[in-house]
Symmetry: C2
Subunit: 412 residues, 2 copies
């Protein structure tokens, strides 16, 4: 792994210095290579799938592993879409003159070498490589062991695309071993790797965060809340509460706890109870909310801390917005929280005081997403507070250095 790290560090200089046109040409050349090799990729994936099925991998995980023709198309379209995004690298902002005569500004630059660790979803190999390349970074990609053959077939296309664009093939390296020790090594090579992005379940991310000596961009949980305020438009509240829970159950921006101001609980909860019953959502309510939710089970303390990722919802009646904010700070995960309200003052206070990576007024938590936010692409969602919060797109893979323009100034 140290050889991989050294090669990545060395390639990162070239890729950072490459022109926008050259990096875009590489993205399109990779797309063409995927088109030319799609049979070989599908064949390698079929082998991976057969092995995984024989080993008894769950149908859910096999579904993620499968590179269907539609998924291969999506990988190719993703490369095109990333090539079309504006280049974040090299932008100079804030350039202004100082009393000393120097002019000082900030230039956006790649981070350097990015290590991405993910599960057996081979399409991530292309998506991650595309974002890193576009943002001028070298990367080391380590997918789940079940997808090794698929990833190596994709890696061959990435290499040929890089070579065609005149960029070093080591700008994107796919780790070619299923050995778990490789991950432990990758996340500790601080001299060669600038940031680690783990993508996957909570277990994977916690393990990596514990081991890492390199900074990590990550999110652990998505315990998202919707708070329905006193005086809210209840049609809006019902639509948002239903969408935030039922649009998709397995996503990190799905609502897991609904907080309702007591003043509207008597009117709203019976309506929502029927709607959730129709959608097949199991409810767990606080003692007070059970008054209006006859079919709900009593919620326990553990419910407030649980990311169900399933058709289950906890509901709590709260006295007012302050109680809702207190609940969110105590039990939330800092991912995405929304208020439904008509009151301007409370809306703005909620926006300011809730300390989550996305805070919303009168919108479904399901909007917390790089594409919905207009980032063009997304490498993940960060619930950390340093560097990038919320959906992380190309900008999150860059930082800003200071640049100084002088004409001979010295300090007095």
């Amino acid at each position: 792994m140290r050889a991989v790290g050294m090669a990545a560090r060395s390639a990162s200089r070239y890729i950072a210095a490459a022109s926008t046109g050259q990096r875009n040409a590489a993205l399109l050349a990779i797309r063409d290579a995927l088109a030319a090799d799609r049979e070989a990729i599908a064949g390698a994936n079929a082998q991976d799938l057969a092995t995984a099925q024989a080993a008894g991998l769950s149908s859910d995980l096999c579904d993620r592993l499968a590179l269907t023709p539609a998924r291969i198309d999506a990988m190719m379209m993703g490369l095109e879409a990333v090539a079309l995004l504006p280049d974040p690298v090299g932008e100079i902002t804030g350039l202004s003159a100082r009393p000393s005569g120097i002019r000082v500004g900030q230039m956006r630059v790649p981070l350097g070498v990015i290590g991405i660790i993910y599960e057996s979803r081979p399409n991530v190999t292309v998506d991650a490589a595309a974002l890193c390349l576009k943002s001028g970074n070298a990367c080391i990609l380590r997918g789940g062991s079940e997808s090794l053959r698929s990833n190596m077939a994709i890696a061959a296309c990435v290499k040929s695309g890089l070579a065609e664009a005149g960029l070093p093939e080591t700008a994107v390296q796919v780790v070619d071993t299923a050995d778990r020790a490789a991950v432990g090594c990758l996340v500790r090579m601080a001299e060669f790797v600038d940031v680690i992005v783990p993508r996957g379940g909570k277990g994977l991310i916690e393990r990596i965060s514990d081991e890492a000596r390199v900074p990590v961009i990550r999110h652990l949980d998505g315990i998202c809340h919707v708070y329905v305020d006193d005086g809210a438009d209840l049609d809006v509240a019902e639509a948002i509460a239903l969408n935030a829970k039922t649009h998709r159950y397995g996503t990190c921006n799905t609502m897991e706890t609904l907080l309702v101001a007591e003043a509207v609980a008597a009117e709203l909860l019976p309506r929502l109870g029927r709607a959730y019953a129709d959608a097949g959502v199991d409810l767990r309510g606080c003692t007070r909310s059970l008054t209006w939710l006859p079919d709900a089970a009593p919620a326990t303390e553990a419910d407030w801390e649980t990311e169900y990722l399933a058709p289950v919802l906890s509901i709590r009646a709260v006295r007012d917005m302050q109680a809702a904010i207190d609940h969110i700070h105590r039990y939330g995960s800092g991912h995405t929280d929304a208020i439904v309200t008509r009151d301007h003052g409370r809306a703005m206070r909620f926006l300011r005081e809730v300390d989550s990576s996305s805070v919303m007024i009168n919108a479904s938590t399901r909007f917390a997403d790089g594409f919905e936010y207009g980032l063009g692409a997304e490498i993940g969602i960060s619930t950390d507070k340093l560097h990038a919060r919320g959906p992380v797109g190309l900008l999150g893979l860059t930082s800003q250095k200071y640049v100084v323009f002088g004409d001979g100034q010295v300090r007095l």
Copy 2:
């Protein structure tokens, strides 16, 4: 320490929600409290100094420990200056409409709880508290054990200022024990502390980085370079090379290695050799440069990797700018590097390709400083790549969360 952490987390909600006026009022109230208590502070400091001198602390360290009347004045003026800076918190940028109808932007918010660990320089207690308060953060301050009495006297003023402004006294907590285990605990309390800023020597920073489970903003070394390009104005080159080395020897933005294009070495190096000799700077030259520097000692490999922090300079003649960039990437510390050149293309390429927190054209490395850059104040200089690079002012103690304004939108 866990009680301290819990109190800080709780106070961080109040301080983040406090108005700009309230936070500024606290800064000015702390200034007034310092003015009222300056005798008590000077007395506590005299005790610290007496103990330190009796224990044989070096005169350099005793100098840093001393709160002279001028230094107490400077602390008070610092509080005023920070109160006058614009409030970074709450700014919303980039708010724009998306096809779904939501409007998405980013709001600047405090990081939360900042832990600052520093040596026995009690004026840092006030400077650090001021920056954290202004940026809406709670903080836990842990100064060197020799300054404990001084710090506690200052802490009393900070508390009374906070109370007078109606803010929780636990928004700034000064750790009141000299026990080293407190630091180990502080840097691991990820649930209560959002970022650690170590200020001090390399040993302190390395120890803290190794132990920390909380993200760290830091810089390890300042091995800064000036490269004098082929065709540079040699008067400008001489002035900058002299200033970057001799303006101050002990600062992290002082040049430690001078790189000179071979084409100008024969003319520039004898001039510089005389100037450095006049300034009392010892030179260590590469074999080639020794031709023009008869009094210099031969440089060893170790010289290129050394932050002298002293009147010592290593000098290397290089073939061209590419060789200079290669040297900087191999031996530099990513702090500050400058080029002296008349060539526009090479100037812009150096600016782009040198991967340091500050990169300069025709200016002395000594300008890498929060005040010189117009940040108003500085908590340190970061050579990390995530989050903040270069001088870290108020903005570096904040981050941006996403905010979404809707009027009932749900995802389709």
